[in-house]
């Protein structure tokens, strides 16, 4: 019996829109129909590629691009193979729809770059390290505490406070995400107060690269000790053997 919990949910403390992890996602719209080619980076290394077809006749309003699968960390991505045997990883979306770049598991650290296939490959259409009006950055912080949020491109700063979870008489459900607007001058609101597990949706009025860093952790009213590793059976047997030999 195991409750599957990806340790990255709680072990990753900060967020960076230019280095997506399980706790962050970027939503981008491609209003112009056509064929797009995307490249997936982990750090500076290219770890995957994919194609997006934006077509008016598509009924798909939301295409989810799982970067962990594309990067080979999680199980094989589903390949949308046309009849011609093309096994490229392919997504289709309506021009009025959105593509959601997210990380379903693993340690993440991804960013993507997308360009139109028929245009100059150097003409970069979308780079997740530089977000603008057509993007939304979704972020969630699990670790309670005080954080700083910085737009690395405009140098604006703000604060985030994540409350410690309270075990109540009814099951807690995180409230709706807080909307944050990023302009050249400031974050609005500048101080973001979040309940445990509550998300943030960053909208942009200026080129942005969001970085969130922990300043001061909140360990709650009754500070628990960090998890103690269970002693292994071998270790227990060794101890028992030592005790026996001491007695004898």
């Amino acid at each position: 019996m195991t409750i599957p919990i990806d340790q990255n949910i709680f072990s990753q403390i900060g967020l960076d829109s230019g280095s997506l992890t399980i706790l962050g996602a970027i939503i981008h719209s491609f209003p112009e129909p056509g064929e797009y080619r995307g490249v997936l980076y982990r750090g500076t290394e290219i770890v995957g590629a994919f194609y997006i077809t934006v077509e008016k006749n598509s009924p798909v309003a939301q295409a989810n691009v799982d970067l962990a699968k594309l990067g080979g960390v999680m199980a094989e991505p589903s390949k949308c193979s046309p009849d011609n045997g093309d096994s490229r990883i392919h997504f289709v979306v309506n021009p009025k729809g959105y593509v959601v770049f997210h990380v379903s598991g693993g340690s993440g650290g991804y960013h993507v770059s997308v360009e139109k296939v028929e245009e100059d490959p150097r003409k970069n259409l979308f780079n997740s390290s530089k977000l603008d009006e057509r993007d939304i950055f979704s972020a969630i912080i699990i670790r309670p505490g005080t954080y700083s949020v910085t737009n690395l491109l405009t140098k604006t700063k703000g604060d985030i406070v994540v409350a410690y979870p309270k075990i109540g008489k009814v099951a807690y459900r995180p409230p709706s995400p807080v909307r944050v607007e990023c302009s050249r001058e400031a974050f609005e609101p500048n101080r973001i107060e979040l309940q445990p597990g509550q998300g943030m949706l960053y909208h942009f009025k200026a080129p942005s690269h969001i970085k969130i860093e922990l300043l001061k952790p909140d360990d709650g009213p009754n500070i628990r000790s960090e998890p103690v590793k269970r002693p292994s059976v071998v270790l227990q047997q060794k101890e028992q053997a030592q005790n026996l030999s001491k007695k004898s």
Binding site: T2, D6, I22, L23, V100, H102, R173, P227
Partner: protein
């Protein structure tokens, strides 16, 4: 015409019956998947007490026999409801609610809770029966052996008088209300065991999302009303433990443990020196009851 008549007084019959009751035991374990949850149990029980009444209509009635569960252990497993982060709407659609939503990251999985109700006492409220003599040929005897050789070999034929139940009624298992607390604690421990590797804030967040464990249990298991009634129904009806007990008692009375038995041919004089034993064959044996005694009648056959 009956050549032999034996009688046992009501008191003597009561003693014989006590022996029958004392020798009953039942062990059983089972597991089943009920869709939203799965469960298993293991039970070992015996019977005790009870009041015997002999009736003039050739029946006997036993009331209030205790069913003592020496072992009654159960395990209930269910899926911890997915505890999810994310999944919220990013681009609302005025027509159908949400145009774009964030994929959810969910955790969850099976949780099993063990609880031990050993020592519980339930009740067989009523057994009504008559007597049924059966002729018994020992299946262990050598094939083709004569009756006499079989007897010399320690496998004599017998007349066995069994209690033949007309009905056996087991009351629902009366589960104490404290089982709710036991189950709650078991589920808490099971979840805590699974979360041992998490840091404190993550555990607290999960416990906050789970909420009161009792609500989690009732929701996951679809319990309406008292948990004790649900456990009673689970064991008694879903696992049909009541039916199993009733059938086992019926089967035991009717064919496993006779209230009395005779060898056939019945020994009158034992073997002595060169003299062979004297035995009489018993035929057409009947056993009846009235309010005072049990009478057994038979003919001496050839």
């Amino acid at each position: 015409m009956n050549h032999i008549t034996l009688a046992a007084s009501g008191k003597a019959f009561g003693k014989l019956f006590d022996t029958v009751i004392d020798n009953f035991s039942l062990s059983k374990s089972d597991s089943k998947n009920f869709g939203p949850f799965s469960a298993s149990y293991s039970v070992k029980l015996h019977l005790d007490d009870g009041s015997l009444t002999l009736n003039d209509d050739n029946t006997l009635e036993v009331k209030n026999v205790d069913v003592v569960f020496d072992t009654l252990k159960a395990q209930v497993c269910f899926d911890l409801p997915g505890i999810c982060v994310g999944g919220w709407c990013i681009i609302p659609d005025p027509w159908n609610g949400c145009l774009v939503s964030l994929p959810k990251v969910c955790i969850g999985g099976p949780v099993c809770a063990d609880f031990d109700l050993s020592g519980l006492v339930s009740n067989i409220s009523d057994v009504k029966a008559n007597l049924a003599p059966k002729y018994y040929i020992d299946p262990a005897r050598v094939a083709g052996e004569s009756d006499l050789d079989a007897e010399y070999g320690g496998h004599p034929n017998k007349w066995k008088i069994f209690i033949n139940p007309i009905w056996v009624h087991a009351d629902p298992i009366d589960i104490p209300e404290t089982v709710g607390n036991i189950l709650e604690q078991a589920v808490k421990s099971a979840i805590d065991d699974e979360l041992w590797f998490l840091p404190g804030f993550m555990k607290d967040l999960i416990w906050a999302i789970i909420g009161p464990v009792i609500d989690l249990i009732t929701s996951a298991l679809g319990i309406v009303g008292e948990i004790s009634d649900w456990v009673s129904n689970l064991l008694g009806n879903l696992f049909d433990l009541l039916g199993l007990i009733e059938t086992a008692i019926s089967d035991y009375f009717a064919s496993k443990y006779p209230i009395y038995e005779f060898e056939d041919p019945y020994p009158i004089l034992p073997k002595s020196g060169v003299l062979i034993p004297v035995k009489i064959p018993i035929r057409n044996l009947t056993a009846k009851i009235n309010s005072k005694e049990m009478t057994v009648q038979a003919e001496v056959g050839t």
